[in-house]
């Protein structure tokens, strides 16, 4: 097994995870599993992976009847289940494609199978359409080999297999951009398991469970990811020599380092290309290198470099230990070590950094083994993969530079007058109060913010929609801009308002917006515009939410209480001077 592939659970490990968690939590997360086969171990694996990623909930997975995929898709109702998993195999569309059918064979039968799967695909499309209006869906299209019905040699494309491809694509095309349907990518499955390795004939015959255990475990892990929405990593710290390029810059000079095919350094070029795409889509990239800065500057001035200097912030180039560089970069970015990946070709450097930052993901660049590059690049995609790119992704790096240069410097420099700085910013807030259920940026912000976060509560897609549509729901999203540029949407507050009291369940703000008093302005706007007497916060301390605790202390609220109550008069007395202009967008 490659060092770049995740180890998957054995069945015993999966059952032990389920057993361990069983008695602990009263919060339930019910999922419905619709298939035509006996889901058996696939349920156990999915449940275990989900349980491991959501330890505070009890995962319950229910399934329907054997051999009735269409009926099973219709079963789950919105109020009973939070997610629907649909797993289709070809025998669900025509049993003659399976291995349990004793239907005999004739030439005309092949044509009949083609007609049948075409008709049944239309029914399937309809069933998925209906189900997805009620509940978020994960869809897995056929993964298993079929009985070799065609008389042609199996390496030649035949009409049946061609039709199967067309129908699969038809389903994919309809649901690929559907907001409530996620489709498991068959290409990803192909990269990991051949069809022979997916299928277990004996288990299919004995129990009606067609998958090999390793493949079932792999599928279960993917299903869990589509439900739990793991937070993508936010930053990558890269080494330079032997990683971003081949060669030791200090020895060979900027002309002697390479990342191209001609110098057998293509894998470094591919890595640069992937870094470029990560940077363009909002991932922070920093460099940590034991080098002399003038040499690195010359290297980054080479016009053929794929990953350019303007995408890197900050550079840590000196001869101190790498852990020193990583610590400084984390402080500059103001994000936790568990949100960051460190890439270096030296096992020694990786170990030194890991010893200081145990929660950091440390990856060895496959310098000596170019054969591993695809697995390595795919692993980076797994760690940083986003479902959607938001406007904020495109400005994140720039806004962190400004934060570092203007705000962090001003805070640490006592000669800088904070009030003059804030009053000169020409800061402007855009306030959004509608359409939160469809606001992917707000959803992302609530689910990935750690520091200024009221209680660390994360939401599944269905829970998010449920909250946004609940009676009395009040939510606001704030976007910020000033003379240094926009930060995009950086604050979300969700609550329920009743008779002058706002009950706040979620309150998060991006660390990029710290020091600008946006959080104070948010509460002031709510008090004034909603005529509130008080705001109640459902607070819970987490390992990382120190910044919001500091904020509450400014209002003499005690972070040891689980319900913090801020009265209008108290707020007015203690709120600092605010300089923002405000525009309400809806």
């Amino acid at each position: 097994m490659s060092m770049y592939e995740e180890k998957h659970l054995t069945l015993l490990e999966a059952l032990e995870i389920i057993k361990r968690r069983k008695a602990k939590s009263t919060i339930e997360f019910p999922v419905f599993f619709a298939s035509g086969f006996t889901p058996l171990h696939l349920l156990s694996f999915t449940q275990a992976y989900l349980q491991a990623s959501s330890p505070e909930e009890t995962i319950i997975i229910k399934s329907g009847l054997f051999n009735d995929l269409f009926g099973n898709i219709e079963i789950p109702k919105k109020d009973e289940f939070r997610h629907l998993l649909i797993v289709v195999e070809w025998p669900d569309l025509d049993p003659r494609l399976g291995f349990r059918s004793n239907s005999g064979w004739s030439l005309s039968m092949v044509e009949d199978v083609i007609e049948t799967i075409e008709k049944r695909t239309l029914m399937l499309l309809n069933a998925i359409r209906n189900a997805s209006t009620e509940i978020p869906v994960t869809l897995c299209l056929p993964t298993l080999p079929v009985f070799p019905l065609s008389y042609t040699p199996p390496y030649l494309l035949n009409p049946l297999h061609q039709k199967m491809d067309v129908l699969t694509i038809r389903i994919q095309e309809e649901f690929m951009f559907h907001p409530r349907v996620q489709i498991i990518d068959p290409y990803w499955l192909d990269l990991h398991y051949s069809q022979y390795d997916r299928f277990n004939t004996e288990s299919e015959a004995a129990f009606g469970f067609p998958y090999s255990l390793p493949f079932a475990s792999f599928l279960g892990s993917l299903f869990a990811e589509t439900i739990s929405y793991p937070t993508p990593k936010k930053g990558l710290i890269t080494d330079l020599d032997g990683t971003l390029w081949s060669g030791i810059l200090g020895d060979v000079g900027e002309g002697g380092i390479h990342w191209d095919l001609n110098h057998h350094a293509m894998h470094h070029g591919l890595y640069q290309k992937l870094l470029l795409s990560l940077a363009e889509t909002g991932t922070l990239i920093a460099a940590a290198s034991k080098n002399d800065m003038p040499n690195v500057e010359k290297a980054f001035h080479r016009p053929d470099l794929i990953f350019t200097e303007d995408k890197v912030f900050p550079f840590q180039v000196h001869w101190n230990p790498k852990s020193y560089s990583v610590g400084d970069i984390l402080r500059t970015w103001n994000i936790g070590e568990d949100s960051v990946v460190f890439v270096d070709d030296s096992p020694l450097e990786l170990e030194e950094v890991k010893n200081h930052f145990p929660k950091l993901t440390c990856l060895r660049f496959p310098k000596e083994d170019a054969q591993q590059i695809l697995r390595f690049l795919n692993l980076l995609r797994v760690l940083f993969g986003k479902r959607q790119i938001t406007a904020e992704d495109k400005i994140r790096s720039q806004s962190i530079r400004v934060s570092r240069e203007v705000f962090q410097t001003a805070e640490s420099d006592t000669s800088v007058d904070q009030e003059s700085l804030l009053s000169s910013l020409q800061s402007m807030l855009e306030i959004y109060t509608r359409g939160l259920e469809d606001d992917t940026r707000a959803f992302e912000l609530v689910n990935k913010t750690n520091q200024f976060n009221l209680n660390g509560e994360r939401f599944s897609q269905s829970a998010w929609e449920g909250l946004c549509k609940s009676p009395g729901f009040s939510g606001i999203v704030i976007a910020y801009k000033d003379k240094f540029g926009p930060l995009g949407k950086i604050l979300v507050l969700l609550g329920v308002e009743e008779r002058g009291i706002l009950d706040v369940r979620s309150f998060v703000m991006s660390c990029r917006a710290f020091s600008r008093r946006v959080e104070h302005q948010c509460l002031q706007w709510l008090f004034e515009n909603y005529g509130l007497r008080e705001i109640r916060f459902h607070f819970r301390p987490t390992e990382k939410n120190g910044p919001i605790q500091t904020f509450f202390k400014e209002y003499d609220l005690n972070p040891e209480d689980s319900m913090l109550v801020l009265k209008r008069e108290e707020f007015k007395k203690k709120t600092p001077k605010l300089y923002h202009s405000i525009e309400v967008k809806n």
């Binding site: 069945l11 015993l12 059952l15 032990e16 004996e202 015959a205 004995a206 129990f207 255990l213």
Partner: protein, 81 residues
Amino acid sequence: MASESKEKLERCFLAVFPEMDLKEIEQASTDKTLDWDSMASVMLYSLISQEFGIKILPEKMVDLNSYSTIYTFLAEEGKIK
């Protein structure tokens, strides 16, 4: 080695019958153990196959109806020495 394999077999049983203790597991059989239904059998055979790297043929499954017969079967196959 022998105790490790025995422990692994016990873990398999504990995963399928989480309410039982080790003493009860050694006495477990399809006759005496209420929870040991066909689903539990499937779970148990799959676990043992994966953990011990062994194939259990369908005709053999009928005979593997207690902890002790499974233990003996694994010993005969050289999986528990």
